[in-house]
Amino acid sequence: METEENNQNVNHVMASSGATGSISVLLHPLVVMNISEHWTRVRAQEGKAQQVIGALIGKQKGRSLEIMNSFELVFTVIENVVIDRDYYNTKEEQFKQVFSDMDFLGWYTTGDSPNESDIHVHKQICEINESPVILKLNPFTRNADLPVTMYESVIDLVNGEATMLFVELTYTLATEEAERIGVDHVARMASGDSAESSQVAEQLQAQHNAVKMLANRVRLILEYIRAMERGEVPKSHEVLREAKSLTHRLPVLNSEIFQEEYYTQYNDVLLQTYLASITKACHDLHQFVTKFNVLCDRQGIMGRRMRGLFF
């Protein structure tokens, strides 16, 4: 009984684990980088890490949210955290001008699991928007997973009274092409090194990294299934089913239509390369002829000899 109560005290902001989120969230990596920079800047300026709070904006279509950008919020700490509404209102006007089709979707903060003060801030945010989502980024985590968790709030009956609780949401990362290239670029270069390698090497390196990840994942699944066979881990039919459906999907596309399209595309690229090499050859030849002309001209009479050699 006592331990139950203790657990409840620690975790009474989270709804029971049975409750699942009702909306799907698409998160842009830019938001993650924004929060990271905000936190790093405050830390570098103040000398020690502090909690930062900010707002999330994006698009909402029915039950799916797309969080595309974020900005900082000013807050004061008088016992509890109080959000500066005026600052928010000014910022809202401004971002409406540039990002006219984006709405206020929620707020973010740094820290570990959600706690009392988060509920308090959340209630203030609820005055702005009916059902905001919360994003928590943990800057001190040591494992390799993305330390970002998203929550939404539900009103639940706890001990007879209606309280606000958080429910964890699952999110996916948005993969817009330009963003992906930017993220790739900053991820791969070490600070302060100049990329002298060839373009082909860079491209192949990126592909190699991705393929390596794929190989690792497949190896992991294989090991898991082998362990299941040996009896080291309990058999999970769901995992087995999914693995089987995965292997059944190969080969992915082997129809004739695909082969035709594939080779047409291949030929197009080769044609383009041919064009480029012909152009280059023309240019080189032209240069050669011009230079030769200049050389020859020195020997003979202007004009006539030159023409004679190349007619």
């Binding site: 300026q45 401004q94 991820a187 393929v211 023309c282």
Partner: protein, 306 residues
């Protein structure tokens, strides 16, 4: 023994949230006094080539690229915040205009250090108007830098296409007849930096992102752009051919000296056409590489005997 003490140390560090602001993150600190001293001294007045390098933060890069991309085929512009560090300009953040109106200084200590705009599809350089705008900026808002980003070329090449430029003051140049503005400004050497937290986040982002890297097919994404490039190339070749024809006529009549101007022009055209053709075909080849890899991985399955 030492690994155990390492583990213990790490645990202690984590438990106490020991702030070890590594030198990597020092760059994020804004030293107001140091900046004001720099602004007072103005070492760039005496040397038009004073700033040689520029360091751009990961966030600023992402913001610029995303903003430029959101504009589609329209140019967009924004402001850069940052500071100066000896001969290097440092860009910490970027803001799309008109968000950077009046109020944004509340939470930002840094000053405006430059502006950026996009050239969707036509490369990273300064146009005539850009050059005059920048010269004006450099007269009144020093230190200031102009960054140009091309989101279309970024996506087509699979590499970030960005350039940072500073103009020379007017008195140093005579505008040449070929309308070459490129002699009025010079490019800074660009490098990027990220914080320790950025690095960790980016690594974990990669854990989820590799799927889209593998599955992206740049040939299909860039089909429009490639077609545009090929027809552009054909126009250039036609022009080159015409001017070559003219050069031949002129050359046969007058001799080497007369043909030199036409020849040089047509040679420039042909050289440029060759360069563009090579660039486009390289990008196409990269896309094809990705397609072949995918085909081998997912389509050609050799079943091993059980």
């Amino acid at each position: 023994m030492s690994s155990q003490s390492n583990i213990a140390l790490n645990n202690w560090l984590m438990a106490n949230n020991v702030e070890n602001i590594s030198s990597v993150d020092e760059i994020y600190r804004y030293d107001r006094k140091q900046q004001q001293d720099m602004l007072a001294a103005k070492p760039w007045d005496k040397d038009p080539h004073f700033f040689k390098e520029i360091r751009i933060s990961a966030l600023a890069l992402l913001k610029m690229v995303t903003h430029a991309r959101s504009g589609g085929h329209l140019e967009v512009m924004g402001l850069l915040l940052g500071k100066v560090d000896a001969n290097t300009m440092v860009v910490m953040d970027a803001f799309a205009l008109p968000v950077e109106g009046t109020e944004t200084r509340v939470n930002r200590l840094e000053n405006a250090i430059g502006w950026y705009h996009s050239h969707p599809g036509y490369g990273c350089w300064l146009s005539g108007i850009d050059v005059s705008t920048q010269m004006l900026n450099q007269n009144f808002q020093e230190p200031f830098v102009a960054i140009v980003v091309d989101p279309v070329r970024t996506i087509s090449a699979g590499k970030v296409c960005l350039g940072a430029f500073r103009t020379y003051p007017k008195s140093l140049n005579k505008v040449e007849d070929f309308g070459v503005h490129c002699k009025q400004y010079y490019a800074l050497e660009v490098s990027y930096f990220k914080s320790a937290l950025d690095r960790r986040l980016l690594d974990s982002l990669w854990n989820k992102y590799w799927v889209s890297t593998l599955s992206s097919s740049s040939l299909t994404t860039n089909a429009d752009y490639t077609t545009g490039q090929v027809s552009d190339l054909s126009e250039k070749l036609e022009q080159a051919e015409n001017s070559l024809g003219r050069a031949a006529l002129v050359g046969s009549g007058v001799g080497v000296s007369g043909s030199s101007i036409e020849d040089r022009r047509s040679e420039d055209r042909l050289a440029k056409a060759a360069r563009d053709a090579t660039k486009t075909s390289i990008e196409a080849l990269h896309g094809l590489l990705a397609q072949v890899i995918k085909d081998r991985l997912f389509n050609q399955v050799r079943s091993r005997p059980a």
